[in-house]
Amino acid sequence: MSEPATTPADPRLAPSEKPQVAFWRDPEKRGYFFQALLFLVVAFLGYEAIANAVDNLTRQKMASGFGFLNQIAGFDINQTLISYSNTSTYGRAFFVGLFNTFLVAGLGIVLATLIGFSIGVARLSSNWLVAKLAAFYVEIVRNTPLLLQLLFWYFLLINMTPQPRDSVSLGLNTYLNNRGLFLPQPVLGNGFTAVLLTFVAGLIGAWLYRRRAHALQEATGQQSPVGLVSLGLIVGLPLAAFFAAGMPLSFNPPELGRFNIRGGVQVFPEFVALLTGLTIYTAAFIAENVRAGIQAVSKGQTEAAYALGMRPGPTLDLIIIPQAMRVIIPPLTNQYLNLTKNSTLAVAIGYPDLWQVFAGTVLNQTNQAIEVIAISMAVYLFLSITTSLAMNWYNSRKALVER
């Protein structure tokens, strides 16, 4: 560059030789211009929308802001994971709804995954009956609306279970009626924390052992009894601690009252119906993802594994599933997101999730439509993005590492 070029170089290589054109004909500058223009238009629309909404709300004398979250809610919620009464605030009602959403979505994701994988594998079974039953399940569930299924499960549940006066005893102080399943409430005594600590210690120990066993197998090919040792550490150790601490756990049994059973832990039919509906619905889609994933793995992989003398079980576990996971995980993420969002259908069957409590009752009582909907949207957006990020991280670990 220090030496000025004496001979004309290729014009494409020398930027100084670029043809001199007006700036509005320069594609690069034009690109920036249109980008900036679009940005300004979007910003203007956004500003106008917000300014207009604020202006209209002020004119209609509708208070705005988030101060209402500190006001007394005045209504009751039957299923709460945190303490709540009708003298709690709207903010607390929000958390009641949020935790109920977490509960049903979290359990739903775990159960739908388990059932979905089983059904997906079953659809590929060489057993004609098993494969056809799985296909039947998938086609029926996938092709009917979820709302209909939820109502079906709910009304099935409350119509099939007995009235409170005819409650069925399931033994161990557990009762079933159409108000729910009543379990004895565990009362934790002194020393139960120690038992929990040994359980956590057992989990960590099992994980460490598994790592060592894996390293050992990599190095020498020698296998270790991982399953047995883990069982001992995770179940055996806390159990021993439990007995050593003098069994610090008692139960508060439910008993029959005038209308219904009192005390104990109540599992509500609304919750069971919603969880069942979401799980069964989402599991059908997951089953199809799993089937697609397994079929995406070339048959040559199975044949190669058999040629090396592997049995069908380990072949599936060690050769097929790890490769299939790369295909399964991205659509699986979609299903998790769908399940979480579909949990808002709880309103139809009276389960107090976030949408029912907050965007339903709270919105109606405070008339703060914009604030309440904005908060609700932000929550579902946050849940979905968190799920996505977690699954993307998992996906990046499982993705094919190219060498």
Partner: protein
């Protein structure tokens, strides 16, 4: 991302523009549009309910027909927009409907956000229970499960009632009335709570209506009336005087059958109401014969009441507090002069 931002901005703009349209002059808009957008119940016998052919009947529905008759001289220029308890206020706020006539309780906080019209039906919250439970009073409901429709004052009244009586209960809230009543019918709840008028209507839809009884206690005041948006007093006059015209007609003994004859009446208050003297209708943006149109097409308050919820209906609700003021009730119209 860009498309996402664009669509979000667009959505917000549309919402904001809709809210902008809302605060303009409703009467002029309705006249220009040629139809009245009336927010109604999704299905409550006696108040607002479509039949299999999509024909709406009910007290609230007839109120909208009366407004339409007053404006267009035609009670059919109404488009009914069925709304759940939860969706009704956003629909009114956004300008999707011109008036909400959907058994809505007039409360202070709602009045702060919207405008309320005259009370077309004085109601109160009650409880529906099974006869075989042998409950004589709401005081015996301690420990009961109660099904309600969410997004209503019902939830708040129950909470207050049980708190003040120091009784325990379990509330099960559903978004739609249908599911609420089905859940009660299936035995999920011991009691079903709503406005007493709604309970009478809903009892008829249960599998065996005779197995159920409405408890005598009324635990709240529920004045039901039409609602409209704030900042439009002319539209408010149209709404208010539609109801008052129907009341005044009943008071003066003018009904659908004799209204043409009454045009020849020489009584000054009849002449003022029917527009043969003065221009009262024109003062609120309507025509002189606005009240004549309402009575001719829809009827007076008593007729509409008896047809929809009273003795000529399946509900058989007595006039009671909804009688005229000079017959021991609360329905009172200011004078037309």
């Amino acid at each position: 991302m860009k498309t996402l931002m664009k669509s979000v901005a667009l959505g917000v703009t549309v919402a904001a523009l809709a809210a902008g349209a809302a605060s303009a002059q409703t009467l002029a808009q309705v006249k220009a549009r040629g139809t009245l957008q009336c927010g109604s119940n999704t299905g409550l016998a006696g108040f607002g309910q479509p039949d299999a052919q999509g024909n709406w009947t009910g007290l609230d529905v007839d109120f909208c027909r009366a407004v339409s008759a007053a404006i267009f001289n035609d009670p059919t220029k109404v488009k009914f927009v069925p709304l759940s308890a939860k969706d009704r206020f956003p629909a009114l706020q956004s300008g999707e409907i011109d008036v909400l006539s959907r058994n809505t309780t007039w409360t202070m906080s709602r009045d702060a956000a919207f405008e309320f019209g005259p009370v077309v039906y004085y109601d109160g919250q009650g409880f529906l229970v099974r006869k075989k439970m042998k409950i004589g009073s709401a005081m015996e409901l301690s420990g009961a499960s109660i099904c309600v429709q969410q997004g209503t004052t019902t939830e708040l009244n129950i909470a207050d009632y049980f708190r003040s009586k120091n009784m325990k209960y379990e509330i099960v809230a559903f978004a739609a009335l249908d599911e609420t009543s089905k859940a009660y019918d299936s035995g999920r709840c011991d009691a079903f709570s709503a406005d007493a008028s709604a309970l009478y209507a809903d009892r008829l839809r249960l599998a065996n209506p005779d197995d159920h009884v409405v408890l005598p206690e009324i635990i709240s005041k529920e004045p039901l009336g039409p609602m409209w948006r704030q900042g439009d007093s002319q539209w408010g006059d149209v709404i208010k005087w539609t109801h008052y015209a129907m009341l005044t007609a009943e008071e003066l003994g003018i009904n659908q059958a004799n209204v043409d004859e009454q045009l020849k009446s020489t009584a000054p208050d009849v002449k003022r109401l029917l527009g043969t003297e003065g221009n009262f209708g024109e003062q609120i943006g309507l025509t002189k014969d606005w009240a004549y149109r309402i009575i001719k097409h829809v009827g007076n308050y008593g007729e509409v009441f008896e047809k929809n919820v009273g003795q000529n209906s399946r509900l058989k609700i007595a006039r009671g507090v909804n009688g005229l003021w000079n017959k021991g009730g609360l329905q009172f119209a200011p004078p037309v002069r």
